[in-house]
Symmetry: C2
Subunit: 586 residues, 2 copies
């Protein structure tokens, strides 16, 4: 196999045309074998095989610098830059991350994972080069789906002013994660239909030069195109048309399902593990679809990730005009929601914790200053969520809960989640975010939950005890139960257990009341401590005799951690918490 011999990009350059084609085919085999065992971004990488080979054939990485948007499509790049073992040797599968990573290789320039950043980051590399007198090529590789994001569009316009070398490869497979949404995609279609010849051209309108490559899965066609733009003295877009999932029939046919996937049968594409039981996405979608029938103003919004809330193609069709995918454009999503609410509708924007942080200003200005009653369920907000450093779901409490007028609710289980959602989508007073409680669906069907949350910041005391009070947020409520049980059985302390429910304010009456019989209050939250919920409790009691301990995650960018280890290193096991409590309990 040729691929085993590729240790550096120079090795690619030594191959003939026919050998390059064989290499492409080998790369696909290796990809499929690893991805069928480990899962990952399947469609995006299968589509980029030839383009990546051609980039390394023409340019001289790492002197020339290639920046991949999101970098979920950089697996082939990794194979060609000294990391092929991470794809061929099952023992070493984990040596490479799923995204570009400067710690792995000098051929990676940024740790990237969020969308629409490549053009701006690469623009910085180019500007730095110009200031310091460098001569290298700077290349941004961005998919059509990422173009809808504001940062990418800002970048496109600004590159138009750079006046020096920068090459933007637009990898157009006519797909985002799901289908594309946004008027700009009509222009991409026009460009494809006219083989790049249409006068009306988004990229030229942004002040950029432009060339079109129809055969984006032909190494030779791509090499010719890249040779044309190499060392260009002004910014140029190379618009290449590729096939997402190329070379693996199921992925070619069902592009959305095969964007990212778990392990599967390499021949048939059948998933190896069937997910069983409930998930919050489907539950949420079914709940909203049911409510839509009687509420024509209820509308579900996604920013390019429809299945985060369970809106598969079938459910999207059922929702019709009551479902809006704005493409990867989170800022627009929030402002859109604010406008819909202002007009009397009821928008629900479902979003991953890691992506809600793309909208602080819109949450604050467009939504919360205006007190428009949009609803925002926040998914995968947990130490048990995605564990790549670029996709952590542990920063949303500081981000959201310190914005005035926002109501951020933290349900502890399925039943409480839907009780809160039911209230949120009927009330008209507050912007409401709801922290979906973890990844596993936990049921507490024997408990009764409030149906009205309009009197804000009322905590719920579920066990009245004394001496020690445990305030356990959202899906850490079970941990709180466990701590209370341990305190009781092992230390004879009948602790009070509180479900705070609200992350955006304190129940000062209840906190004051605790002073009577308690000397220690602890808080447990599934997120970073800095700027979070627990600190507010500490501040409140600061001038009193109450001892307070905040449990949660320390402020750090943990990467590909094992959740149980990270929990333990943050003193988040019930055993550790009880020990810490006893150390200050008198």
């Amino acid at each position: 196999m040729y691929i085993e011999k590729i240790q550096f990009p120079q090795d690619v350059k030594a191959l003939s045309w026919s050998e390059l084609d064989i290499l492409a085919s080998e790369v696909r085999q290796v990809l499929l074998k690893k991805l069928s065992r480990k899962g990952g971004h399947i469609g995006p990488n299968l589509g980029m095989v030839e383009a990546t080979i051609a980039l390394h054939y023409v340019f001289n990485s790492p002197e020339d610098k290639i920046v991949y948007d999101v970098s979920h499509q950089s697996y082939v790049h990794k194979m060609l830059t000294g990391r092929v073992d991470g794809f061929m040797d099952p023992e070493r599968y984990d040596m490479v991350s799923g995204y570009s990573n400067p710690k792995e290789s000098e051929h990676d320039f940024f740790t990237i994972g969020h969308t629409s950043t490549s053009i701006s980051l690469a623009c910085g590399l180019a500007k730095g080069r110009d200031l310091l007198g460098g001569k290298e090529n700077v290349i941004a590789v961005i998919g059509d789906g990422s173009l809808s994001g504001g940062e990418a569009l800002e970048g496109l316009s600004n590159v138009g002013e750079l006046g020096s070398n920068m090459i933007i490869v637009v990898n157009d497979n006519d797909m985002s994660i799901a289908e594309n949404h946004g008027g700009l995609y009509k222009n991409l279609r026009l460009l494809r239909e006219t083989k790049g010849k249409a006068e009306c051209n988004l990229f030229r309108a942004m002040g950029l030069d432009y060339i079109y490559v129809e055969e984006g899965n032909s190494v030779k066609a791509l090499v010719e195109a890249f040779r044309k733009v190499k060392d260009a003295v002004s910014p140029v877009v190379v618009h290449i048309v590729t096939q997402k999932g190329k070379g693996f029939k199921p992925a070619e046919m069902y592009k959305e399902q095969w964007h990212y996937g778990m392990p599967f049968d390499e021949k048939t594409g059948e998933p190896k593990f069937q997910s069983s039981g409930e998930d919050y996405g489907s539950l949420t979608a079914n709940f909203l679809l049911e409510r839509m029938k009687s509420n024509p103003g209820l509308v579900v919004i996604t920013a390019g990730t429809p299945t985060v809330m369970g809106f598969t193609k079938e459910r999207r069709d059922m929702a019709g005009g009551q479902f809006v995918d704005v493409g990867i454009a989170e800022e627009h999503a929030v402002a859109l929601a604010s406008g819909i609410a202002a007009r009397g509708g009821k928008p629900v924007w479902g979003v991953y914790s890691t992506f809600v942080q793309r909208t602080y200003d819109q949450l604050s200005q467009d939504l919360c200053i205006n007190r428009n009653a949009a609803v925002i369920p926040v998914f995968c907000a947990s130490v048990y969520g995605m564990n790549d450093v670029t996709h952590l779901g542990i920063f949303d409490i500081p981000l959201i809960s310190n914005i005035p007028n926002m109501v951020y609710l933290a349900p502890t289980c399925k039943e409480e989640y839907f009780a809160m959602m039911s209230w949120a989508i009927t009330q008209k007073e507050h912007p409401v975010a709801v922290r979906v409680p973890g990844l596993q669906v936990e049921s507490r069907s024997d408990e009764i939950f409030d149906t009205d949350y309009s009197v804000l910041n009322r905590f719920r005391m579920s066990r009245a005890g004394e001496n020690v009070a445990v305030i356990a947020v959202g899906n850490f409520y079970s941990l709180g139960e466990s701590v209370c049980d341990k305190l009781c059985t092992e230390r004879g302390i009948n602790a009070t257990l509180i479900n705070p429910r609200y992350l955006t304010g304190l129940d000062t009456d209840m906190l004051d009341g605790l002073k009577e019989k308690h000397s220690v209050v602890i808080t447990l939250e599934d997120g970073v401590l800095d700027g979070g919920f627990g600190e507010k409790v500490s501040r409140y009691y600061g001038g009193s005799d109450m001892k307070v301990l905040n449990f949660g995650l320390r402020k750090e960018f943990a990467d590909r951690y094992v959740a149980s280890e990270l929990m333990a290193s943050n003193h988040l096991t019930d055993v550790q918490i009880v020990q810490d409590v006893m150390a200050i309990y008198k």
Copy 2:
């Protein structure tokens, strides 16, 4: 005068063409009289007189809904919608805010102040209308300068999918606050030069219909254009060419200076008050210009507000390629800075506190995960900064300081600010933000400040005392001094005074050391308490016997407040603080 009789938009519709022209001239007189006395956004409103009259002549506000971007150009709209007294009667000048405001009038739909939001907000109004079966026109009015912002570009693309009525009036005066930057402005120029006929058209490339109005300061031409698009069944851009500052010679000639101004002589344009003494903008610009000479990689970045860091046209010219204005595109600015730093350059992005919040995700992902050593001075971060609800400078500590890897420094005075900046622009280890200490330049020239901040989170004890310790952040350090003085003279307490310097971490050695001789620690910060600095100190001491009080601002969107009153209502006078301390001091 006609203007006195305009109580509702209907009154505009009753006028003849010649009367409308007279009205326009009266509006300008009234505007100039008020603005010469009170200051405000001069150029933008003078340019929009005819367009606003024409909008109200053709459309039926508030049934038809007009959303103004930034809304700094909505003064004329306010005059024509029942609020003319707020412009004509000096006694009532303050009854209208400088931005659109639903509390003032049913003709305003959002409280707006940040840029690039109008299209997305209006898109929400249109979507809500479609869901609920409404028929009204929805109009977004956006200046060319605001188009460079990501949220606006996301909005443009998404409107292209709406498939129903929405009208986007692009008010093109060929200016942002300063000159425009970005490749898209080449397209706007091409459109102006071809009278809208160029085939390559940004708006059409976004999937929108388009018409061009050359005479954007002719009521008649505008009325004709707006009539054409009224009740349009698909989204359309009306590109109107206006003259910024129209009708006032100084504002026509010096557009940047007259974008926003303080009171001036109505005839000559001479400012009524000469600013005297130093300001942090000019000091920063001169400092950086000096350093640029010996450091070719040092580059100053602004997102459309060059003078926040004192970069007037003259200084921009001096900096040459070492100054980059990316237009109003804050997200791109941060990613650009990260890329420049990654390539070995030293980017310095100066930004207002209120606008840095547009970049949380870029600070976290593009910059801090990558630990690139960009420098971000944050201006007007204070209760004494801008006091419009949309421009508050009190949320940056929670926003910035809870991001891992970031170093956020809070100097107390000019000398410390430049000591920190000198370190920041030479070190290569950390992304560093510096909270410029207040609006007034305070000097402590007799003190000596550290020149090296690379050992992180080392607080500085400036007065060693006992019993009570005062940790006073940044420009509240003087308040801390005053509190210590009062504690000494009035209560006989020789308090310890600490300048923490770092907002992103605690000096746990010093905090532990305080336990020996102190029973009370207080923190003072010029920002909201929630998620801020003081809460971290409270958390740290939570399990100990130390009493802690955090002083700062409560979480709220205060609007057009009097700073001294807001301070007092938050217990932020030295007298109140001493009282609060004594209430818990034993």
